[in-house]
């Protein structure tokens, strides 16, 4: 499968990370979104009229929605990551889109000079992070390791992680959100995990 990829976008990272977690080989085609604006080129718009990244291509099949890509990869490689029977999955994927529109937007404005109201985006993200922290804290008490009730991690973890792990780029802090920090570490230490710039890969596997 071919992934049209922008290295700095959380949505692209979600697909790269998930493919690594389930062992799906990807061929990456870098698209110079920043500063090159290649996603507005005729070539790219012919591939995805929405002009968004990532785009996943498998033969004649083209996906342009990053969450749909996660589901498709899960169905193909390991369906345990995609508990379609549980309505909570819809909620968490929606939460991830809300994070994209708040935390993700504030990050693009603050770090890459995109237009928009960073303070308003940040205020919305703050509310979301507080709520996810609350759910995670009570989840931990109930012995739930991941955001969904399942014992196995799900695409919801990946979808939410890629934004929260980059929250400092958006001027947000996890200092007073300890359950989120613990969950971030749990994802980082998952077998197959890969980092992107801004997220530290686990070091502790290297010993001397």
């Amino acid at each position: 499968m071919i992934l049209y990829d922008a290295h700095h976008l959380p949505e692209c990272y979600a697909v790269r990370l998930f493919a690594a977690l389930v062992g799906a080989p990807l061929t990456l085609v870098p698209v110079d979104v920043y500063p090159g604006h290649e996603h507005r080129s005729d070539d790219f718009l012919a591939r995805n009229p929405l002009g968004t990244l990532p785009v996943l291509v498998d033969g004649d099949t083209v996906w342009t929605d990053w969450q749909e890509m996660l589901a498709a990869l899960a169905l193909r490689h390991d369906a345990a990551w995609f508990p379609a029977h549980d309505p909570a999955l819809i909620g968490w994927l929606g939460m991830a889109r809300d994070l994209a529109a708040s935390l993700g937007l504030a990050r693009l404005i603050d770090t890459f000079g995109a237009p928009g109201d960073a303070a308003a985006a940040r205020a919305h993200a703050d509310v979301l992070l507080d709520e996810i922290e609350r759910r995670r804290w009570f989840g931990e008490r109930a012995g739930k390791v991941w955001v969904m009730p399942q014992a196995h991690p799900t695409i919801a973890d990946v979808a939410v992680f890629v934004f929260i792990a980059l929250c400092e780029d958006a001027g947000l802090s996890l200092r007073d959100r300890p359950a989120l920090r613990r969950w971030i570490d749990r994802v980082r230490f998952a077998p197959g995990f890969i980092a992107m710039s801004g997220v530290f890969p686990p070091m502790a596997n290297v010993t001397r």
Binding site: R134, W137, F138, E140, R141, L174, R175, D176, P178, R181, R182, D185, F189, F200, P202, M203, A204, T207, R208
Partner: protein
């Protein structure tokens, strides 16, 4: 810089905050702290700042009984002494290279520290440790508002001049109720500004 009393024990974390391999991060009276549990089980409270180049230790990782800084992977043992510098692996690390350590006590499900804390850690009633709630108001104001809360034995951690962390023991064990009460208190105090 600090509104911290000397000689006083402050609760800065709950036991459940310290999981294997993880560095918990908080701030006490303007002093940023990294809190972690070594493989041997001892709990460490350190300045959240690597003495080498000032990077927060809480970005790093626990490796066995060492804390490893994320920047240059310098390792520091439970006494705070630097044990290994990968850029100069043959060098015997000078004993003067140390992380600044804080006193530690564990009691009532909480981790305590302070500046020259004296005497025993405050005795809390039995119960369950509720979720710590940060409130963007000064400690004195938050403490005053906590007096009236039933079923909760609160302890206050001044984060900085304008922000306070409230930890509470739910004496009836009803942690969800304690959470609702503290979150409502947060909303009330923060909206009263």
């Amino acid at each position: 810089m600090t509104n911290l009393a000397t000689g006083v024990w402050y609760a800065i974390a709950a036991d459940h905050d310290l999981v294997d391999g993880h560095v918990y991060r908080t701030v006490l009276g303007g002093h940023e702290l990294a809190v972690w549990r070594a493989q041997s089980g001892t709990v460490q409270v350190w300045d959240d700042r690597c003495p080498h180049r000032g990077v927060r230790f809480s970005l790093g990782e626990v490796v066995g009984d060492d804390l490893r800084c994320q920047y240059h992977a310098w390792r520091f043992g439970p006494t705070g002494a630097c044990t290994f510098i990968p850029a100069q692996p043959q060098m015997k690390v000078p004993g003067t290279i140390r992380a600044r350590t804080w006193p530690v006590a564990q009691s009532g499900g909480l981790v305590w520290t302070g500046i020259d804390p004296a005497g025993p850690v405050p005795d809390l009633p039995p119960g369950t440790v509720a979720r710590a709630i940060p409130i963007a108001r000064p400690a004195a104001e938050v403490a005053a508002a906590l007096v009236a809360l039933e079923g909760l034995a609160p302890v206050v951690q001044p984060l900085d001049a304008g922000t306070t962390m409230v930890r509470a023991i739910a004496t009836d064990g009803d942690v969800p109720r304690a959470d609702r009460v503290l979150v409502a208190l947060r909303r009330r105090l923060e909206s009263a500004v």
